[in-house]
Amino acid sequence: MTGLAQKPQDYRAYLSSETDLAGWRNQARRALAEDIPPERIDWHVEERSATPDLAPHLPLPQSNTAPALHLNNQHLTVLITALLHSDADRFALAYRLLWRMRKQPRLMGNPADRDVKRIWAMAKSVRRDIHKMHAFVRFRKVGYREDEGGKLREQFAAWFEPDHHITKHVAVFFRDRFTAMDWLIVTPRTSIAWDGQNLRAGPGGKRTDIPDSDAIEDEWRSYYRSIFNPARLKVQTMKSEMPMKYCKNLPEAEVISVLIGDSNLRGHQTRGKVLCDAIHKPLATTSPNSIKGQTQ
């Protein structure tokens, strides 16, 4: 599978989910304490499709000794952030780094090392995905609910498709920002919700679980049209910051091609090659794989 295995992986570390960071940390500590080299561990996420057990696997042995390994906060954050990446190899990579750090304690600080470079890049890609989720979630109003005190609470819902396993991680951001309203964010793998008291995580869903419009969206598009300065067209900059994969869920995206077209007609100076339908066309054909390819 990963190409890392030089010989049969005789240990298997079990992770209950793609975001079982505690499970990874526990078992990594045990494996380090027992001196088990990275190529002998198969990191197995139970919610992924099961790999057939061709060779018998042992669970990692229990261990009472704590490994003598110290990570500074920054490097620990990088590791933990990278573990939210969608790359199937991330748990093994993170363990390999810990393993190598026993001999080279300052390894994580060496940006020229291949493994280090990769883990930093993964963490960066996750951070970017988190940032884009903060930015590009678009709530639609669903209605009202009467709360315990008899007051009306507005209710909102949104559909979002993150690249990585970040949904539960961003819940706190949305709670701290939208405390006074009920909200629900549905993604393909996970959903998160807030009711004024509790954050809850649930199963994933579909785009059609969310209403397909909101009365305010016309005003938002009108704002988007007006704030754009046609004398300064720079489509490439826009596309690099607002990749197409996000556009399909943004209410304002549908006016982009019209704005660019109008601006070209008026003969304004243009930077970047522009095809009027370039923004919308590729969306339908963007496969999950090509999305991954873009961000790594």
Binding site: R106, G109, N110, P111, A112, D113, K117, H131, H134, A135, F136, V137, R138, F139, R140, K141, E154, F156, A158, F173, R175, D176, R177, F178, T179, A180, M181, D214, I216, D218, E219, W220, S222, Y223, Y224, R225, S226, I227, F228, N229, P230, A231, R232, L233, K234, V235, Q236, T237, M238, E241, M242, L250, E252, I256, L259, I260, S263, Q269, R271, K273
Partner: protein, 418 residues
């Protein structure tokens, strides 16, 4: 005439606000609505919620309260003598619109500016009233940037700073003469004086907050300004001198440069065409050199070009750091394995992140060119200026044609590309 709908007003008043380049929503204190039970937070980092096809980030609801104006600044689309369509929001309408957009996660907050109606004081009071309603009546915790009117009573600043994350006053033009000529109701010295007062109060409030967490806030995100480029004769040397003076003198966080956009119905005193957008881009690059790379204006201008009228402008073909390096080759080549950070930052193509990565990586061993390629994006540009364990530029650096070799080739192909 039938009353305008909220959407129609929005169209007019957002259109009128788009010539203001600032969209920053960063650098303020952290706020969360969890404690207040309201709506809105700030994380300290700005968030761009969308991007317009002009490549600009959309972070804030950027609107004018009204585009009626009693001033007649010639470069401004909303000047008294312009025949643009006019509209005015009530404070409550702006509050509702801000909350409607914010709750749908379209924006980080509000950037409110206004034409001057009745009097500068009246206008400023209304602007502050919007911020007060948001903060006090609606427990709004999002970002608020208020444009400040320098002609208004200084006491009004107190409330503005109490509610806003950031305040700004536009310097408008690089020289006082141009301000007098193109914005007859404004005065350069007065604008700078008000900026100075703002800067002082911001730093006082910050100092007080350090000793007591309960000390009142005053525009914790600092203050900024905007300068219009290409509406007057000022050259880049003049522009950058003005910026440096403002950064040092009044503690500005940012100077935004806005290439003059020809407006409908222009005055004959204005140039008929826009300056090339790349001029604005070069000024931003030079501004970064001033703020983060330890350059002075005089140094940057050694790479500048002098036009027929004797004006000193940044080279449009190459970036200002490269232009400086080509005129100051005695500082090169720089040994990437030995040089201090301040010297590394002078290498063309090497940014702050690249320099820090090199300093980190070289603790693990002497760097080769392949290592630099791993660490930095733009190594080809650096080659004539650097030494690594396995690379020295040799006579390249003294090549009289180095400029021609490093400048981007003229893009003839674009004629045929569609």
């Amino acid at each position: 005439m039938p009353a305008l709908t909220r959407a129609e007003k929005l169209e007019i008043l957002a259109d009128a606000a788009k010539y203001d380049a600032s969209c920053a929503s960063s650098g303020s204190i952290k706020r969360s609505s969890l404690g207040t039970g309201g709506i809105g937070s700030t994380t300290g980092m700005g968030i761009c919620h969308s991007y317009a096809p002009d490549g600009r980030c959309i972070s804030l609801l950027k609107i004018l309260m009204t585009n009626y104006c009693m001033f007649d600044c010639l470069y401004c689309i909303n000047r008294l003598s312009s025949n643009v369509r006019r509209a005015a929001f009530t404070p409550q309408q702006i509050v509702d619109l801000t909350l409607d957009f914010y709750k749908r996660n379209y924006i980080e907050g509000l950037f409110l500016s206004s034409g001057i109606i009745r009097s500068p004081d009246y206008t400023m009071e209304r602007i502050v009233e919007v911020a007060r309603l948001l903060r006090e009546e609606h427990k709004f915790g999002g970002y608020i940037h208020l444009k400040t009117i320098p002609e208004a009573d200084p006491d009004l600043l107190t409330n503005a700073g109490k509610y806003a994350d950031r305040l700004s006053i536009n310097i408008e033009l690089p020289s006082d003469e141009s301000i007098t000529r193109l914005a007859p109701e404004k005065s350069g010295p007065h604008i700078r004086k008000t900026m100075g007062t703002l800067g002082q109060r911001i730093s006082d409030a910050k100092a007080e907050r350090k000793s007591s967490r309960k000390a009142p806030l005053f525009a914790p995100g600092g203050h900024s300004t905007q300068m219009i480029i290409g509406a007057d004769e000022s050259d880049d040397a003049r522009v950058l001198t003005t910026s440096t003076r403002l950064y040092k003198g009044v503690g500005l966080k940012r100077v935004y440069y806005s290439a003059f956009s020809p407006i409908p119905d222009p005055s004959a005193q204005l140039p008929p065409v826009a300056p090339p957008l790349v001029r604005e881009h070069r000024l931003y690059q030079a501004d970064w050199l001033l703020r983060f790379y330890g350059f002075g204006v005089d140094e940057i201008m050694t790479g500048a070009k002098r036009d027929a009228a004797g004006k000193r402008h940044l080279d449009l073909a190459i970036d200002p750091k490269l232009a400086w390096a080509l005129q100051n080759r005695e500082h090169f080549p720089v040994d990437l394995n030995r040089a201090d950070k301040s010297i590394l930052l002078r290498v063309p193509g090497l940014g702050v992140n690249g320099a820090l990565a090199i300093i980190k990586a070289r603790r693990f061993g002497t760097l080769r060119l392949a290592d630099i390629e791993t660490l930095c994006r733009n190594v080809s540009k650096m080659l004539p200026f650097i030494i690594t364990r396995d690379w020295t530029p040799g006579p390249r650096l003294d090549d009289a044609n180095l400029y021609a070799k490093l400048a981007p080739k003229p893009k003839q192909l674009e004629l045929f590309a569609t």
